[in-house]
Symmetry: C2
């Protein structure tokens, strides 16, 4: 029963659902629905799909997430970055506008959903951690720039394509001569209006005496206003006959039951994009969910979140949608509007279902330029180049990762960008740990403590080399230690004994074990003893399972001071030798 | 001048070269030359190239390595694993036996040489460390099995191809009916003879009173004897007319000057294989070089080794060869035979030049089955499945890496095998560090020490949660800490303050900084304070460049005891509260 409740969080919050919660959830749902209608249409166009796909992708997925997800306020549906990634992935296997394109988008959602559910079931959510924060920030910023640029063609009314900044800008400039002036007027006016709504309207409404809540709701309705006014203008003035691209016929009805493709070729081609989309979507979603949960001292379970998002994507795959995830803006709106349980999401789904059944004829004359304007205004808030300055100030390695991610995303497209970002972060981390800090130590006079010979006045003995290794030993730094010991011993001809002080070594993997064996054999060939000191319990337990200790040309000392007493020549011996 | 000597080690050992060194080097060169002639021909066939390519790949590369390399005993030339990898890589872009195939092999050598030189010049040799020892061991073992299997077709005299074990075995079984009995007799006899030479001859010779040195030389000449006897048999009995495949015409003369291709398509297709070949070759070579150097208390410089091997490969690319590296068996022979300087290598090159000028007509009737037998006997010594048992006993993670590498290499071929091995090692390492050990600690009564609450009887305070993090914080484990703190705080309702004890945190990267900021904000939203204690100097310096400390909803304590004194309720307070 507990396991069932763990995997079906709806059983948890559903039991205590009451009239007060219902009214909070209903109010939130109305506000989010109004915000989502133009957004869904717009993101579908960004993904290269017919407008209704955006609505469909917001119905079944929201309901499924409400059942399986653990966040009380997360609003699931099409989002900008995932729509862009969908366009990039599907564009590689099918031509936009064909039936194959829509099927590929469904297939992508299915793969993404399956992958997320698998991660959740096998509790592999930690894989998402391989995306470092700078890489995510760089990727989101670059994606925002790419998305805004990709929408300029709708504002100008020119044909243009491409999945990287140079391609897009090149196509735009090449077709600039074909700009449709009427489209440009609509697009520019809508963009300017929406920027004003976002920046200037709310303070104005507050000064006019409206409550913060109402001012917020009206501000969030800006895109709806832009949609209504420009649609009316196109319809009333017959602007579509002057070359203004419109959304056109959108079928009226329930979301269709659809079937993704199971063709192995297509699955193979879409697998990697699906993985990237899943991980990016999950990382975005979980951080929103955790931030909102913390405000009410609630918890989200990352592994169950994977299952919730996976179910949502599987839902999208079978009801005419495309990959979805938890959106930042809409979740915050949902939370601020008072949503208390995932039922708010279910009510939003009902609102969108109503729109799909009755409102779609109204968007026939909606100009694409208006949708492009809503996208541009929404995504420019994602662009945050300050991450470059902040990482530069904090750490050059993190700066390198973010700069590379931004550049590669802009120049090579989203998939290469994010994949390279992950690879670069991991390589930089491995590089940092590949040269661990190793200090040569000596005895602090009058104590039993050992300190770095370069920083402290300590006693040393030319026949004894003691190295303190400040990192766990594993394959990436094992050879470093081999090289270091060999270098020191060939330089210091008087050395008769080497002690490796293991006080900071938490692990010795098999590669490091073999390196220690190699060091032991090589030192033996040179007639030099190898000793260990201050080996931690778990490391010692491991070493005891091997022949290393019995073959060791030296001893294992409990403390470094014991090693010093046994191996260092006393002052009188030294005087005699000199 | 010092820099010049660093990059031209020949200037170093050349100055002290004398008559004694010369005679040692000459003796070693004669022995190695005799061993190398059949080996070079055989490995060229393994790589899918004409026999002479093996000889050519042993001349210029050896001389270039003698100039640029730092090992005194390393013998450079074609080796089994690299030959197999060459066949796999080149086989993907050209048909064996065509001119394009040979050019692709040259191009692969050029790319590999360029990559190695670049690694050396930019001191990036640490990249080779990403191959963990278990992955290398698994890869070499699986390659040995693949190579031996690939040679069975020559022993049987049947056509067969493939780059993975199932392909090879399938082709062999399918063509078993076409077995040529004469070829099989030659191949089986040569294999049996060579196994006997390797196992039984040396003790026999020693018992017969020969010196260890002479017994060793005769044993090493086994392949030459097999070559001479079987060639004579084929020639004398006209066995080639009975379907015994022979080496055929091998051009007589100096190594030709050749030009690799610079076609971008070909370079692109061969880049990844070239990188893998370079790294595998370098790792094998450097470990042989270091082992031999240690025996004479000499040093090899890994970065200069990269340049030496790179120069050797560039040499191979322009003189009709293919990718080369330092060979294990021949280097040991060279060392044992007394080679003291790289000049021994240069003399070996002269020996092979002589062979190329005058001896090639003699190998016309050499049966391919004999060469296959020398390969089979040589590579089976590479197969060491005990690595599975040893890693299993030591660490499951290392076992997983080696088992996956062996399986994937056998089933999918060398490139997929080694690439997956690297990926798996890195992922397992990241997984291990992604869930660092975090202990909740309390005060040991009567002291100022803090210990794990689960292992020791310590004082705690329900309003104060103190977590000691036993790992540096970076992107892979940053979210783990976020989740953990949120989980603990939502479970422990009485908690008013959280202290993170940083005594074992050597680094906080930008992702971890953002996680700490998120933890701080979320705890603030819950009305809980966040404090740090025992932060190391370098970590504190970093944190001071950010706004984290000023926004911290709590304090930074020098010691954990200070934190306890400031935050924990005294017993009397606690009594009053209860």
């Amino acid at each position: 029963m507990k396991a069932l409740r763990r995997h079906l969080p709806v059983l948890d919050w559903g039991r205590s659902y009451d009239r007060r919660t219902l009214s909070s959830d209903l109010i939130a749902a109305v506000i989010v629905t109004i915000m989502l209608i133009p957004q869904s249409l717009a993101y579908a166009l960004l993904a290269g799909l017919p407008a209704q796909a955006g609505i469909y992708a917001s119905i079944a997925p929201i309901i499924l997430y409400a059942i399986f997800g653990t966040s009380r306020a997360l609003a699931v549906g099409p989002v900008a970055v995932v729509s862009l990634m969908t366009a990039a992935a599907v564009g590689q296997v099918a031509q936009q506008g064909t039936a194959g394109y829509a099927v590929a988008a469904l297939t992508l959602a299915m793969l993404s959903g399956g992958f997320l559910v698998a991660l959740g079931v096998f509790r592999l959510g930690f894989l998402a951690n391989f995306l470092s924060h700078p890489v995510i920030a760089g990727f989101i910023t670059a994606s925002g720039i790419l998305i805004a640029t990709s929408q300029l063609k709708h504002v100008l009314g020119v044909p243009a394509g491409g999945h990287s900044l140079p391609e897009m800008v090149g196509a735009l400039i090449g077709n600039l001569g074909q700009t449709n002036p009427v489209t440009l007027v609509i697009g520019a006016a809508a963009t300017a209006f929406l920027f004003w709504v976002r920046r200037g309207l709310k303070p104005l409404l507050r000064r006019a005496g409206l409550s913060a809540f109402l001012a917020d709701v009206l501000t969030k309705s800006g895109p709806v206003a832009a949609v209504v006014v420009t649609t009316a203008a196109v319809w009333g003035l017959g602007l579509d006959r002057h070359g203004v691209a419109i959304v056109g016929d959108v079928p009226q009805g329930l979301p269709p039951l659809t079937l993704p493709s199971f063709a192995p070729d297509l699955l193979g081609a879409l697998l990697l994009p699906a993985i990237l989309i899943s991980i990016i979507g999950f990382v975005e979603s979980i951080s929103v969910a955790q931030t909102l949960a913390a405000r009410r001292r609630q918890r989200v379970d990352p592994d169950q979140e994977l299952i919730g998002l996976g179910a949502a994507n599987l839902g999208a795959a079978f009801t005419g949608g495309y990959p979805v995830t938890g959106g930042f803006a809409r979740s915050v709106v949902n939370f601020d509007a008072g949503a208390e349980t995932p039922a708010a999401g279910a009510f939003t789904a009902l609102g969108l279902l109503f729109a799909s059944l009755f409102l779609t004829p109204l968007v026939h004359y909606l100009p694409k330029a208006t949708l492009a304007a809503t996208i541009i205004v929404a995504v420019l808030s994602l662009v945050d180049l300050s991450i470059l300055r902040r990482t530069w100030a904090y750490s050059r390695a993190d700066f390198a990762a973010v700069a590379a991610t931004i550049l590669l995303t802009l120049l090579m497209g989203v998939e290469t960008g994010v994949a390279s970002g992950v690879a670069i972060s991991i390589l930089l981390h491995l590089y940092k740990t590949s040269r661990p800090h190793v200090a040569e130590v000596g005895l602090v006079p009058g104590t039993q403590h050992f300190r770095n010979v370069l920083r402290h006045r300590v006693l040393t003995d030319p026949t004894l080399l003691t190295l303190r290794v400040d990192e766990s030993l594993y394959f990436v730094n094992a050879r470093f230690l081999e090289d270091l010991v060999q270098e020191r011993v060939t330089e210091g001809c008087a050395i008769r004994n080497v002690v490796l002080m293991f006080s900071a070594v938490n692990e010795v993997d098999f590669s490091a074990l073999e390196s220690l064996e190699a060091i032991n054999h090589r030192l033996k060939d040179m007639g030099v003893g190898l000793h260990l000191s201050e080996v931690k319990g778990p490391v010692m337990d491991r070493l005891k399972t091997t022949r290393f200790l019995s073959e060791l040309n030296g001893r294992v000392f409990l403390s470094q001071y014991d090693a010093w007493c046994a191996l260092a020549r006393r002052p009188e011996e030294r005087a005699a030798a000199e």
